[in-house]
Amino acid sequence: MPARALELLGSTPVRQALGIVALVAVVSVSTTGIAYLRLRDGLEETILTSLDQSAASFSTARTAEDLRRQVAAEAAVADPELRVVVLIGADGSMTGNAIAELGNGRPELRPASEGRPLADHGYEIRVLKDERGTLVLGESREGIGEMGEVFAFLIGLSLVPTLILALAAGLLVAARSARRVVRIEETLARLTQGDLQARVADVSGHRDDLSRIAAGLDRMAQAQEQSVAALKQVSADIAHDLKTPVQRIAVLVAELRDRAVDGSPEADLADQAIAEADRAVGVFQSLLQIAQIEAGSPRSRFRTVDLSEIVATFADIYGPAAEDSGHSLRVDPLPQKPVPVRGDKDLLGQVVANLIENSLRHTPAGTTVRLSLTQNAGGVVLSVSDTGPGVPEAERSLVLRRLYRLERSRTTPGNGLGLAFVAAVADLHDARLDLADANPGLTVTLTFAPSSSPPT
């Protein structure tokens, strides 16, 4: 797994190990470097002294011929890798153990023959010029060069094992903590997904920063699970303790209804009572559902769902109902291919249903309700808009609250929970919910971030 390896290299212990290696390198290079420079200065001085001495020895020759002989004798014995001596006579003749070409400045040296190579590291050169000719003396810097190699080797010798040891130690520590870090990361991911039973349960036995983080995370998850469980318990209690009596009422009224003659005022009253009981239960039901959604638990059931299919289905379901109430329900051309998002199909369907119902209910006959679904780089955008009276800007955030109703909607059916439900589901799906002016009318837009739309 190259990704895993990269992650390991980027981990804190490895970074720290590499930091230590860098520090050791700086110290080692600077101390060794200073020693090298001092030794080199000493060697250079020796070379220069030696040059001075040989220059002095040649100055004893009296004639040009004497000098040439002396140079020839010296050249015969001197190894050009160590010392170069060349005389270029006034007539241009060359004597010596190498070939020197005089340029404008420093003479260029070349080997005199195959068998007599020159030094690799260059020479300290002295050029003496008088009427007898030009004497070129060179003293090899071989010693300095070799010393440099020795010092470089020394630096390497001290650094490479340090590097290997430090990196190995860093990787070992990282690998040991990596498993624990991965566990922590996985636990966080599962908790975020709504799996409230996820725990790190660190049993490494270490008492370090990671074990403290793990323990803290577990405590937090425990607290969250308990509060969700408490909420569930309350929900279940409400459901049971309130809905059961309502069911009993409904049962009793239904029996009453059975005894009444169809079409009689008694039957009519009984029917109304049953409808009211249904409405009361509808409100409990919606409140409980919103609470469950806000607790985040449905996230563990997320699948890839096709929003395009959901929009088409609900446009189809509501088409005749819209027509009957004098509305016109239109769907803008849907994308040709599926529009996948990660989510809960039932909840998303209910959102589309709520938005359509909201528009049908709060706008007069003759209003057009338009559904649209588009997909672009910014994500998936689902919108339901109408040409009705709209929602005043100041009240747009209020209508998302539970049980809030606009003044003019007091008399229309609905329990004031439709948009609160939409807001809770949007939040659960990390989708942005916007209410805007449709000039005239209301546009409700849900924007699903691209991350929540899986690749097709």
Binding site: A254, A277, D278, I317, P320
Partner: protein, 230 residues
């Protein structure tokens, strides 16, 4: 009046007396034989001993809760269809119920008609098999291959969704289908919208299938739903 041609043997597991009496009364009036227990443990042995057509299980029971009861029955290879009655109506609760091995899930308060229709759907009476290519109800014929509907020889032009709705009703000829059952079967949605969407679709279908003819085939069953007559 009974929705069934044959009586069924049912087991009701419900501890609330008012609701139990109501359900028992209704089911017995329809001609079924119904046993009733109020405790989960008792229900376990009862369900394992006798052959029942359908189990009606309250989720919150003393002794052993309904979810664990059905799970235990399934583990013991008792595959009798079970419908849960429950006050818990969250999405999670519904899925939990189905995962435990329940076949259907009815949230309280429910109308008796809804329960009755759903028990009928669970009773494993064969629906008209998909192998058939022509469905019939009275003088109404549906050609599943040619996607053609005729009544009394006159072709009726239906939209695809109207066709699906009619097909669902015709396959279950004589059996009541509630609004929520139709929503689940035809549109695959498991919640009940507040607007009367099913009624509007049925009325569109009726306008084409029934209105031009003298006999009404698609019948409304008060408090329950719809059925198509044979």
């Amino acid at each position: 009046m009974s929705h069934w041609s044959t009586a069924m043997k049912l087991l009701l597991i419900e501890d609330d007396k008012t609701i139990a009496d109501y359900v028992l009364g209704g089911l017995r009036q329809e001609g079924h034989v119904v046993d009733h227990v109020t405790d989960g443990r008792e229900a376990m042995s009862q369900a394992m001993s006798g052959p029942y057509d359908v189990l009606i299980v309250d989720r919150m029971l003393p002794g052993l809760d309904g979810l664990s009861l059905v799970r235990a029955l399934r583990a013991a290879k008792v595959l009798t269809p079970a419908i849960f009655l429950t006050a818990l109506g969250g999405v999670d609760d519904r899925i939990e119920g189905l995962q435990a091995g329940g076949d259907d899930y009815l949230v309280k308060p429910f109308a008796f008609g809804e329960l009755s229709a759903r028990i009928g759907a669970l009773s494993r009476r064969p629906v008209q098999q998909s192998a058939e290519t022509v469905l019939a109800a009275g003088d109404l014929r549906m050609d599943l291959i040619g996607r053609k509907v005729t009544r009394d020889g006159i072709e009726i032009d239906l939209l695809p969704r109207e066709f699906a709705l009619l097909e669902h009703l015709m396959r279950r000829k004589g059996r009541v289908q509630t609004r929520t059952m139709l929503l689940e079967a035809v549109w695959d949605i498991s919640f009940d919208p507040q607007t009367n969407v099913v009624e509007t679709h049925i009325s569109r279908l009726r306008a084409k299938v029934d209105r031009p003819f003298d006999r009404e085939l698609i019948r409304t069953v008060r408090g329950s739903g719809y059925k198509i007559e044979g």
